[in-house]
Amino acid sequence: MTPAAPAPAPAPAAAALVRLRGLRKAYRAGLAGESEILHGLDLDLARGEFAALIGPSGSGKSTLLNVLGLLERASAGHYTLAGTDVEALDDAARTRLRRDAIGFVFQFHHLLPAFSALENVTLPALARDGRVTPAVRARAAALLAEVGLAPAMHRRPGELSGGMQQRVAVARALALAPALVLADEPTGNLDTATADEVFALLRRMHREAGTAFLVVTHDERLAARCDRRIAIVDGHIVADDGTAAA
């Protein structure tokens, strides 16, 4: 099954949560003006890892995150998520896998403004089951309490500060206990103190839930506090100071 691609940092395949081999992503692939953003990446992430993805603007970080998050398809190469070859899946199966295995935290928190904090956290379960059971509601409330928002859980996003909204987003990302959380500059829009607070929350949730985190950040300070740093420049991984720990 393992493709015959060079693997600079080979990891124990069984433990790998994410496994990329020769992954390419181009826009307008095969058309005039084709632009390739990712040029054949190899990357492994182990279960429960906490890694930073760093690099300048336009280096392909967000594109990589979108491909990892099954929001976009790779143009070429192999992507295996939790043992599943995702390139072989149809759209519906990718949606299901995304729902069950991946949580997102976006830079601009991206909560649904029409729903309260608690409802935002229960939305993934509602989409999955068509209803919110008392157990789901209790778990959502517990998650919100854990991120320190118990008193504000019935407020709408518009009534919460930026830091609070981002904490709701973290709780939502963890709502269905995914194996992997992808965070796209989760603190990029926050002041330093709040950024530290949210980052600390991510680390705490990581510790408690055992979920793997891949955090895109510009912030060297925060990157330094991750267990592993993967640097990407112009669509190539130029540095990776950790190996996927088993």
Binding site: N66, G69, L71, E72, D91, A92, T95, R96, R98, R99, D100, F104, F106, H110, L111, L112, P113, A114, F115, L123, P124, L126, A127, R128, D129, G130, R131, V132, R172, L176
Partner: protein
């Protein structure tokens, strides 16, 4: 099923609530359309029913007559032979229908036929003192004929009764002759004459009829017109007046008879009614189109506005189908809310019509009501229009690439 659509319902309702002003405006717009369509339907329906009731209340739906006498060539004409250039048109004497009692029995048993009345009528002169008037004397069986024309409710003086030697006259005729209930008149048909006692005066709804009509027992007419035991017409009333034409054609095929439906004798009225119906349908279609376009435009805007939220929902694990259904449901909800409000509005308009549109006598021109079946039909169409309008926006929403949608 509710659990299956729980997510879509919840999000659709929230989206609609979020765009409060948009939602309100389009619901009011849909309601206006629904109200117009409903009110026009009800009004035209009432108008047509009223016109029909007035027209058909004083005439049979189908009339059976004997075949006309015609000149037939004695020899088959050879090709190219013009035959006699001129043929004398035969006079049409009053003739009895062959075996009319048998026909009446068959027609009595026929489904859809609610009244069968054999009659014998013709021109006669009515005379009292110095006054003489030309009348249409119609011999009837009163019990049977009231099922064709309700004479009892049209009675304005006396009590309609047709015993031997009795007659019922139109009100204007009575005035012209100067007779009242209980008075005697002499009726003559050329050869014979009879004296009849007026038992009632009836108002048939049209002056011309009131001036001419004189009802007598069938037996009196038979002796006056010298057709013992005969009946020259059989008049029918039907449960469904629009079935008249088919029935008339059917009967003409089955029996050696001539038939006339009310549609044939009122061709102008029928074409007017049809023109009305076509206009109503056109108005309905245009309003429906406007409603569909209105809902569609609101949803198209909503899809653009909610692009990012759609992207988030997809990232959270909502399927394309779920996103599509969220917008289809919004369309359905807008249609449903609009139709509820619109039906309320239509009821108010109907009430206003009944209150304000009154004739010279202070009574409503005619009664219009909103039948539940029509209300249901309108609501169903509005709901369907909402879903229909939502198809394009919903597909567009479902087709959004989540990554792109979130970036916007």
């Amino acid at each position: 099923m509710v659990a299956a659509l729980g997510f879509e319902w919840r999000v659709a309702l929230r989206f609609l609530r979020e765009g409060r002003l948009q939602t309100l405006l389009i619901v009011v717009g849909v309601a206006a359309g629904v109200a117009v369509v409903t009110y026009i339907s009800v009004l035209i329906d009432g108008l047509q029913r009223n016109t029909l009731a007035r027209t058909l209340g004083a005439q049979a739906h189908v009339v059976l007559l004997p075949l006309e006498e015609r000149v037939l060539p004695v020899l088959p004409r050879a090709a190219g032979d013009p035959g006699f250039g001129d043929t004398q048109v035969r006079a049409q004497p009053l003739r009895a229908l062959p075996d009319w009692p048998g026909l009446v029995r068959v027609l009595d048993a026929r489904a859809g036929v609610v009244g069968v009345s054999p009659t014998l009528g013709g021109a006669a002169l009515a005379q009292r003192g110095a006054a003489t008037r030309a009348v249409t004397l119609t011999g009837i069986d009163l019990d049977r004929h009231t099922r064709i024309i309700e004479l009892h409710t049209r009675t304005v003086a006396g009590r309609a009764r047709l015993g031997p030697g009795e007659a019922v006259a139109g009100v204007t005729l009575a005035e012209d002759l100067g007779v009242r209930v209980g008075d005697l008149i002499t009726v003559s048909s050329g050869a014979r004459s009879q004296t009849l006692r007026i038992t009632a005066l009836v108002d048939l709804g049209a002056t011309e009829l009131n001036r001419r009509m004189l009802y007598a027992p069938l037996r009196s007419a038979q002796s006056l017109f010298d057709l013992p035991g005969g009946a020259a017409r059989i008049e029918l009333a039907l449960a469904d007046v629009w079935a008249a034409q088919t029935l008339a054609a059917d009967l003409a095929r089955q029996w050696p008879l001539r038939t006339e439906s009310w549609q044939q004798t009122n061709a102008q009225l029928v074409s007017a009614l049809n023109a009305q119906r076509v206009s109503t349908t056109l108005i309905r279609a245009v309003v429906l189109l406007v409603v569909v376009l209105g809902i569609a435009s609101v949803l198209v805007v909503s899809v653009v506005q909610k692009q990012r939220e759609i992207g988030i929902l997809r990232a959270m694990g909502a399927t394309r189908g779920q996103v599509q259904r969220i917008f289809l449901l919004q369309g359905a909800l807008l249609g449903a809310a609009g139709s509820l409000l619109g039906l309320g509005l239509a009821l108010a308009m109907v009430a206003a019509f009944m209150h304000f549109a009154r004739g010279a006598d202070g009574l409503p021109l005619f009664a219009i009501t909103l039948p539940p079946a029509l209300a249901l039909q309108v609501a169903a169409v509005a709901l369907l229009a909402g879903v229909l309008a939502a198809i394009a926006p919903a597909r567009r929403a479902a087709g959004l690439e989540p990554a792109q949608a979130i970036r916007t």
